[in-house]
């Protein structure tokens, strides 16, 4: 057995202190040790984006990070969205536009969209398509995801 080390991290505003193997992936730590299974693992090589989380406010592929890299960091996962009125709008808009089918890639899209709405101009549909091209979806053909993001963007501007 490999010696375990202690990490302290805050996930969805809850503080955790856990002893883990240094080789444990952040995605497995979140899913297995913290039981937050809303973060999905689709490829474990950083391509599909299903495992996307936020670390200190920035999106990150949790399958490409070790859990120890979360030490001292503030982590957000999809489970934090329902109780946050700003983020709940993203969920509701995805539902309204049928922007999900099987739902497996969806948490990664939601986290990515949340960041894009805060950081990017998203001038037109092409920019939205480009901005979302790091997340793979096999069910929807993306069209309804793009429509949902367009509406979220437009509502953001009217504020």
């Amino acid at each position: 057995m490999i010696d375990k080390i202690k990490i302290e991290t805050t996930v969805n505003n809850v503080k955790y202190s856990k002893r883990i193997e240094p080789r444990l992936l952040a995605s497995d730590f979140i899913r297995e040790n913290l039981h937050l299974t809303g973060t999905h693992v689709g490829c474990e090589h950083g391509v599909c984006g299903s495992c996307t989380i936020k670390i200190n406010g920035l999106t990150s592929r949790s399958c490409l990070k070790f859990a120890i890299q979360l030490h001292g960091k503030r982590v957000e996962t999809v489970e934090s969205f329902s109780s946050n009125p700003q983020k709940k709008i993203i969920l509701d808009t995805f539902k309204k536009f049928h922007a999900l089918q099987c739902g497996f890639c969806t948490p990664g899209f939601l986290i990515t969209v949340d960041e894009l709405l805060q950081t990017e101009n998203l001038e037109n549909e092409k920019e939205i398509r480009k901005a979302l091209s790091g997340n793979l979806c096999r069910c929807t053909g993306y069209e309804n995801i793009i429509k949902a993001v367009l509406e979220l963007k437009n509502n953001r501007k009217t504020k």
């Binding site: 057995m1 999809v78 497996f104 091209s133 096999r138 993306y142």
Partner: protein, 789 residues
């Protein structure tokens, strides 16, 4: 007074599945946890063809946290997976759950490790030492049919495990002096279904009752339960298969896998819950793959443009084993079966061979056979139009089956009925402004810009008279619905289907609500759980909305009749004066009404309102068999632009006019079309599982096997034609696969049109940027290969 009945079928009811899936509360198989859970890791072959000399597991067993390392020796009593069929000239293969002797593909499971966690299991798997003797790998489809080729399955004595001929009409037309024809060899390469959730299985055992519950990321829990019971001799009342939330399937999760059997067996042996979650690399190597065929096809026609004959030789590369339960026939036979498409052609002749090679087994993948068939025939029609110097749309309309010709039996025996073939084509031509595009293309210098049409027919919601795969000893044609109202007045309906993204929890509730007179969100749909229903298979082959939707109506009507009988007793009137709407039961033209709660109380608990004979449980169970299938059809039109410097292909516009009968939920239907087209775009432009000469997969990551991203898929203009309703109860046709079926040919035709000034025809898919470069600059067409006899 009661309101007019609510209509829910045809409405964009928002999905009931979404709340849990969006909030991170979906439950996929890999999310399940049980105390004392053990984890599996498989050691897989890294050679394509060979014999196991020895497997040494000593070092692996020494690792801390290992509960056991198992090879075939430990599973000797388990019979091999053998996919039988009533087909003539078919030879079933034997596939042991772990390789016993002969290795037949890279990725074949050789040993399995049981450990405290997946990390330890993978550590141990790496320490297993395997000694093998290499055999010549059989990789090339055509080479595999040659007499000198190494044989994969010695007991079969040939790599061709199935051959079938189709013959309709005669050969007299071949002597016609004016006869014209176009002929080519087309190649559809191997694909991976790629659901975002990889295959995963968890088996739990109830210590008290010894009941085994397999949670499986499967599309077919009913098929899996029946197969496990058969293979492992476990009675059905001790075995349950549950498909919880499933992250996409597309056919890749519609077959029985060795890992499923092993997970159950080890759970039984260890008397502890066991979990296996595939990683993406394993999923590429071990999940059933799609397509891969070489098709030599010739279309004969008169100088007037009238089609006279269609001849095809199809060789389907089915990989190393015949997949359970569909058999190797599934994909290649459907290529021949649907080759003629929606066209009148009197003389049809086809030969199909299914050949085994040292690649993973192929199985169902969205479209099954038809993306390849439609690619071949629709390309040939464009080539024929070129030869005749006529417009390809006009040539299609000239030969397309008209509604007055229906029902129409095509050469393979498939019967088309109630389908708007021409209506879909005309609709797509109108939406795409086809004629205007052609005028511009003819008048201006618009080389590198192209338009492509693809029209097709498919059989969906297939009943018991037609097997999903020919000769398969499995009933896929019926569906049962148990609808019940419990003591609280709440409604549940149970089906054997297994939704994995299609939104069936919503659409079936819409159908029941409309039939019964309740609200969709008051209805709980149970599915994907074999303990709840006696028989069924699952969700595949564009069947669930059509067949389950129909049986939902049948069962609901029966229950409604019982409710009306009770209500007419309570209201002291006759059934014709009872009206049910919005969850209330009304007496027409009065103010009298009761709720479903009042009804349930009267039936189950108050013991005074009703006489004993009316106090029977509020349950109705019906089974429905549409006997034949419903003809779904569509025309796709793609407009593409090829960059003359980089050869990058951009899809500028995409139109789908489709006829799927009565639309239950337009939002969901459009979603299926959009997603299906996206996969067709992948198959046409990007996706290819490339194997080298040694049988090593060169595209085993999502960075090498490219699926379309949001930058590659355009918005799609969709029109629904709802004028040709099928015979089934709900008037529904299946439509989950059509997007993929039409897209391959539409894009291939559009790209060919865009480069028509270079006189190059696209005959192989995908037509990737590098292939197009080679085609244009070196004239190299990989398809100019010799087609074996």
């Amino acid at each position: 007074m009661q309101k007019k009945s609510q209509k829910y079928v045809g409405k964009n009811v928002l999905r009931f599945e979404d709340e849990r899936l969006l909030s991170g509360n979906g439950v996929y198989t890999s999310d399940l946890k049980f105390s004392s859970l053990l984890h599996l890791s498989f050691l897989r072959s890294n050679i394509a063809h060979g014999k196991i000399v020895s497997i040494n597991k000593e070092k692996a067993e020494e690792i801390e946290g290992i509960h056991g390392v198992f090879t075939y020796e430990n599973f000797k009593e388990v019979p091999p997976i053998k996919s039988t069929s009533r087909m003539k000239n078919y030879f079933a293969t034997n596939q042991n759950v772990l390789c016993s002797d002969k290795i037949r593909y890279v990725g074949e499971p050789l040993a399995v490790v049981v450990a405290e966690n997946r990390y330890i299991a993978e550590d141990a798997a790496e320490l297993i030492e395997v000694e093998v003797k290499n055999l010549d790998p059989v990789i090339d489809t055509l080479e595999a049919t040659k007499p000198y080729s190494e044989i994969l399955h010695n007991e079969i004595k040939s790599n061709v495990i199935l051959e079938r001929n189709f013959n309709t009409g005669d050969k007299n037309f071949l002597h016609d002096k004016d006869l014209l024809s176009v002929k080519n060899i087309f190649r559809m390469t191997r694909k991976s279904p790629i659901s975002m959730e990889t295959r995963s299985y968890v088996c739990n055992i109830d210590k008290l009752t010894k009941i085994l519950t397999l949670y499986s990321s499967t599309q077919v829990p009913g098929v899996i339960k029946d197969a496990l019971s058969l293979f492992l001799k476990i009675p059905g009342n001790k075995l349950n298969v549950i498909a919880p939330d499933v992250g996409g399937g597309f056919g890749g999760k519609a077959s029985l896998y060795p890992e499923e059997i092993i997970t159950v067996l080890l759970c039984q042996r260890f008397n502890r819950p066991i979990k296996w979650v595939s990683d993406r690399f394993e999923d590429f190597m071990s999940t059933s793959q799609g397509f891969e065929e070489v098709m030599e096809v010739e279309l004969f026609f008169k100088p007037t443009g009238q089609f006279i004959g269609l001849y095809g030789k199809i060789i389907g590369d089915v990989g190393s084993y015949s997949i359970y339960p569909w058999t190797a026939a599934l994909e290649p036979m459907q290529v021949a079966g649907f080759l003629q498409g929606p066209y009148k052609i009197d003389n049809f002749n086809a030969n199909v061979k299914c050949v085994v090679t040292n690649k993973p087994p192929t199985g169902p993948y969205r479209g099954v056979g038809r993306p390849a068939a439609v690619f071949a025939i629709e390309r040939l029609i464009d080539m024929a139009a070129k030869k005749l110097k006529t417009d390809p749309a006009k040539l299609r309309l000239q030969n397309m089956i008209d509604k007055k010709d229906l029902p129409y039996r095509i050469g393979s025996g498939i019967v088309w009925d109630n389908a708007g073939f021409k209506e879909c084509l005309k609709s797509a031509l109108r939406i795409s402004k086809y004629e205007k595009f052609r005028r511009i293309k003819n008048n201006e210098n618009s080389n590198w810009l192209g338009i492509g049409i693809a029209s097709y027919g498919e059989l969906t919601g297939i009943g018991s008279k037609i097997s999903v795969a020919p000769g398969m000893p499995l009933n896929t044609g019926t569906e049962t619905c148990i609808i019940e109202i419990d003591s609280t007045g709440s409604i549940s309906a149970t089906f054997a289907i297994a939704s994995h993204g299609q939104g069936l929890e919503t659409t079936l509730a819409q159908i029941i609500a409309e039939t019964l007179g309740s609200k969709p969100d008051d209805i709980k749909i149970n599915q994907g759980n074999t303990s709840l229903i006696k028989h069924g298979t699952g969700t595949y082959a564009s069947r669930s909305a059509a067949i389950a939707g129909s049986v939902a109506i049948k069962s609901t009507k029966k229950l409604k009749n019982q409710i009306m009988k009770i209500a007419s007793y309570i209201f002291e009137t006759t059934k014709k004066n009872i009206h049910i709407n919005d969850g209330f039961i009304f007496q027409k033209d009065t103010n009298k009404k009761i709720s479903f709660y009042d009804l349930a109380k009267a039936v189950y608990s108050d013991m005074e309102t009703l006489p004993i004979k009316l106090r029977k449980p509020l349950v109705a169970t019906e089974t429905y068999d549409p006997i034949f299938g419903a003809t779904t059809t569509a025309t796709h039109i793609a407009i593409v632009e090829v960059n003359p410097e980089t050869y990058k292909i951009k899809i500028k516009d995409y139109i789908v006019s489709e006829d799927c009968g009565k639309v239950i939920n337009p939002m969901i239907v459009d979603g299926q079309v959009q997603g299906g087209v996206a996969q067709g775009i992948g198959a046409a432009l990007y996706e290819e599982l490339k194997y080298d000469e040694a049988g090593q997969l060169k595209t085993a990551t999502l960075a090498d096997y490219l699926i379309p991203t949001s930058s590659e898929v355009p918005n799609i203009k969709i029109e629904h034609i709802e004028n040709f309703l099928p015979d089934n109860l709900g008037k529904f046709k299946g439509m989950g696969e059509g997007g993929t079926i039409g897209a391959t040919a539409a894009i291939a035709n559009a790209v060919s049109d865009a480069i028509s000034h270079l006189n190059i025809e696209i005959t192989e898919l995908p037509i990737s940027q590098d292939k197009l470069y080679n085609l244009i600059n070196t004239g190299e067409n990989q398809n100019e290969l010799k087609f074996g006899k």
